[in-house]
Amino acid sequence: MSDSSLIDSLAAAVEARPDDLPLRLHLAELLVAAGRGPEAIGHAAQVLAREPGNTAAQKLMTAALGGAVSSSEEAAGGHAAVEEADAAYESSEKPPTQGDGIDWAAMEEDLGDIVPPRFARADDEAEPVRGHGDRVFDVETATITLADVGGMEEVKKRLEIAFLAPLRNPKLRTLFGKSLRGGLLLYGPPGCGKTFLARAVAGEMGASFISLSITDVLNMWVGSSERNLHDLFQSARSHAPCVLFLDEIDALGHKRSQLNSSSMRTVVNQLLTELDGVDGNNDGVFVLAATNAPWDIDSALRRPGRLDRTVLVLPPDKPARAAILQYHLRDRPVAGIDLGKVADATEHYSGADLAHVCETAAEFAMRDSIATGEIRMISQHDMLTAARDVRPSTDGWFATARNVAMFANESGEYDDLAAYLKKRKIR
C-alpha cells in the first residue's frame, strides 16, 4: 500500500471517528513524513486543543510547522517562528500575489535601501533605529525563548494559548475567526520575570523587540510625547514582526481620572490611538505590556482590541526556583547544595528575592573565609540560613492584591489572582 493511499484510508477513518486522538495523531505523523506538513497542522492542533500537554502532538506540530516553511525563507532568517509568523501574515493579511515562490532574502537585499530591514540579524549587535529627528529607538533581537524560562509551565501554557498558538496557526485562526489584534498584559508581583517573559515571547516569535517605559517617556519626551509615541509605533511597524514591550504600563497608561497634568493625559490618549492603529496598520506589531499595578491602568487600555488578554505572572514555582537558584550559583563556589530543599524553603519568593538569597549565602561563606583565613564553599546550611533571613518581597504586593480581588473583581478580570489568593489562604 502506498503512503498516499494509506493516508487516504486513515483520513477516512479519522473522519468516521473524529474523537479518536491516537488515530488522528498517527495520520498527522504520516502526513508530516510525506512532506504534507500544512495538512498535518490541523490534525495536530485538534489533538492539542483537547490535550494541550500531549508531547507527541507538540513535536508533530513543530515538525509540521517547520515543513511548512519554504527553503528560501529558511535561508533568509533561520528562525522558524519568525518565518511562520511572517507566513501567517502573508497568507492571511497580505494580497495572494505574495506567495511561496518569492525569495524574501533576495528581495530584502534588493530593497534594503528603500524599506527598513524586516528582521534584525541575530549575530549583529542591537542596532539603534532612528525615528524622525534625533530620537533613537533600540530595536533588539531577543535571543531567549520560552525554553529558557525555568518552570512557570502554567504561564507558558497561557502565553501559548492566548498569544503564540493563534499566531503560529493561521489555518486554525481563520477557522475560529480569531483576530490578531490586541495585546497581552502581563501582571504580577515585582521581580517575578515579566520582562524576561516578554523577551522570551519575542524570541519565540523571532521578532524584533522594542521596549518602552515611563522613564524613557520622561527622559526623552517631555513636551513632545504624542509625536514620539507615534514615531515609536511607526518604528515598530517598520520592523514587523516586532514585539513592542510597554514596561510599567500603569505609569504610561495611568487612569486619566487620577491625572492632573495634561501632558500625562496626552500620553495615555496617544497610546490609545496608536494601539488602535488608526493612523497606521498594526499588523505584525505585537504589544506586550507589564505591570505590578493593573488596577491603576486606564480602563480604556484594556478594552477589546487593545490590551485585552491578561496573564498573571506569579512568583516562580518550585522547578523555576531551583533553576533560578542554580543560575545565581553558577559562578560561585558551592558544595553539597540540595536545590530542591532550598527551593522548598523559598516558596513565594520572587526571582529577585532568590538572587538576594544567593548573595546573602555567599556573604556568609565569605565572612567565615575571612574570619578563619580558610576558603570554604557555600553550603546548604548557608543557603537555608539566607532563606530564613531574606523575607519574600512579594508579601506587600499580595496584601494589595487581596483588596483588589475583594473589591475590584466584579467583572472577573482578576479571577486568576483571586483563585491564587484563595489557594494561599490570603483572603
Binding site: 520622561l218 481620572s257 492632573n260
Partner: protein
C-alpha cells in the same frame, strides 16, 4: 539624571502623579545634586516624602526648603501639611499662616490654613479660612473638598454634603468626594447607601481602600453601646438598689433593664443588618490590635446585654451591677481600637514618640 532644576521639578511631579514615589524622590535628589539650595526642589522633595508617609523626613526637607528660600509660600504650605500629618496642629497653623501671608491671592495657603485650624479644633476660624480660599477659586476641587472636610469636622453635615456634591458635579470620579459623602451618610445612619458608596470607592481605588472606614457599622454599634450601656445599666442598678427599700421600684428596674437591652439590640440590628457582610469581611483586614479590640468589645457588649436581660427575668441585682461594670472594659477596648489604628499611621507613631520623649 535631571538636566535642570525645572526639568527635575516637572519629572518628579509627573512620576509622583502616577504613584512612582521612589522614582520621583530619586529624580528630585538628582536635581538637588545639581542645585542643592533650590527651595523649589526641596519643597517638592518634602511633598514626595509626605506622600511616602515619611513625615519626619518630609518635615526636614520642608525646613530646608524654607531655610533656602524663606519667601517660598509653597515650602511653608508643605511644612504645614506635614505638621498636620505629625499631629502638631498649632505649629501647622503658624506655617500655614505664613504661606497665606506670602501668597495672599493663591487659594492653596488659605486652604492648608483651614485644614490646620480644623486639626487644631478651631472650627469657626477654619470655616472662615476655607470659605476665603474657595472664594479665590470657586471651581477649585481642592477648595470644595477642604470646605466639605472642615464643615464635617464642625458638625455641619448639610454644608459638608453640599460642598462634596459640588465636587462630584465637577469631577464625578473624585474618590475623596465620594468617600466624604459616604461618611456623611454613615453619620446620618443611611447604612445601605453609605456602604454601597464605600464599596464603589474601594472598587475604583482598590489599593487605597479605607478598610477601617468600611467597618464603621460595627465600630459605630460598639460606640453606641459604649455610651448607652453604662447609662442604662447605671439607672437600672440605682433602681435595683432602691428596690431594696421600695419593692415596687424593683419591677420598674427590671422593665427598664429589658427596655435598655432591647433598644441596644434594636440599634445593633438597625445598623448591622443593612450593612451586610462587607464590614465583617473588612474587619479581617484592619490592623490586628484594632480587630482584636473590636471583637473583644463585641463579646463584652453581648455579655453585658445578656446580663441585663438575665436581671430582667430574675431578681439578682448583682447581674445588673456586672453589666454596669462591663462598661469599663468596653471603654478600654474602644481605646485599644484607636491605638491599633494609630499604630498604622506614621504620623500618630511619631506624635506618640515625641510625647514619650518630652515626658521623660
Amino acid at each position: 539624571m535631571a538636566e535642570s532644576v525645572t526639568d527635575a521639578f516637572h519629572r518628579a511631579h509627573r512620576l509622583a502623579e502616577v504613584g512612582r514615589y521612589a522614582d520621583a524622590e530619586r529624580v528630585v535628589r538628582d536635581g538637588l545634586a545639581l542645585e542643592p539650595a533650590s527651595g523649589q526642589l526641596l519643597s517638592v522633595l518634602a511633598w514626595v516624602l509626605r506622600l511616602r508617609r515619611d513625615y519626619p523626613a518630609a518635615l526636614a526637607a520642608a525646613d530646608a526648603a524654607i531655610a533656602a528660600d524663606p519667601s517660598l509660600a509653597d515650602a511653608h504650605a508643605e511644612r504645614a501639611e506635614t505638621l498636620i500629618g505629625l499631629l502638631r496642629a498649632s505649629d501647622a497653623v503658624e506655617s500655614a499662616r505664613e504661606a497665606a501671608r506670602l501668597a495672599p491671592l493663591r487659594p492653596a495657603g488659605h486652604l492648608v490654613l483651614a485644614r490646620a485650624l480644623s486639626a487644631a479644633h478651631r472650627r469657626d476660624q477654619a470655616r472662615t479660612a476655607a470659605a476665603h480660599g474657595l472664594r479665590l477659586d470657586p471651581s477649585s476641587v481642592e477648595g470644595l473638598l477642604t470646605v466639605a472636610e472642615v464643615e464635617r469636622e464642625a458638625g455641619h453635615r448639610e454644608e459638608a454634603a453640599a460642598a462634596a456634591r459640588a465636587v462630584l458635579a465637577i469631577d464625578p470620579a473624585n474618590s475623596y468626594g465620594r468617600w466624604l459623602i459616604a461618611m456623611l451618610d454613615a453619620e446620618r445612619l443611611k447604612v445601605r447607601r453609605s456602604m454601597r458608596a464605600l464599596r464603589d470607592v474601594a472598587r475604583d481605588n482598590p489599593i487605597r481602600t479605607d478598610v477601617l472606614a468600611m467597618t464603621w457599622p460595627i465600630r459605630g454599634v460598639l460606640s453606641g453601646f459604649r455610651r448607652g450601656l453604662p447609662l442604662g445599666a447605671f439607672i437600672t442598678v440605682a433602681l435595683a438598689l432602691a428596690a431594696v427599700r421600695w419593692s415596687l421600684v424593683g419591677d420598674f428596674a427590671r422593665l427598664l433593664s429589658l427596655v435598655v437591652a432591647f433598644v441596644l439590640i434594636g440599634f445593633g440590628l438597625r445598623v448591622l443588618v443593612p450593612a451586610g457582610r462587607l464590614p465583617w469581611r473588612c474587619l479581617r483586614l484592619v490592623p490586628r490590635l484594632t480587630r482584636r479590640a473590636t471583637i473583644a468589645g463585641l463579646v463584652t457588649a453581648g455579655v453585658a446585654v445578656t446580663l441585663l436581660i438575665a436581671y430582667a427575668v430574675s431578681t439578682g441585682w448583682i447581674l445588673a451591677l456586672l453589666a454596669l461594670l462591663l462598661s469599663a472594659p468596653m471603654w478600654i477596648f474602644g481605646l485599644l481600637e484607636l491605638v491599633g489604628a494609630g499604630l498604622e499611621d506614621p504620623g500618630y507613631l511619631s506624635a506618640w514618640w515625641r510625647k514619650f520623649r518630652s515626658n521623660r
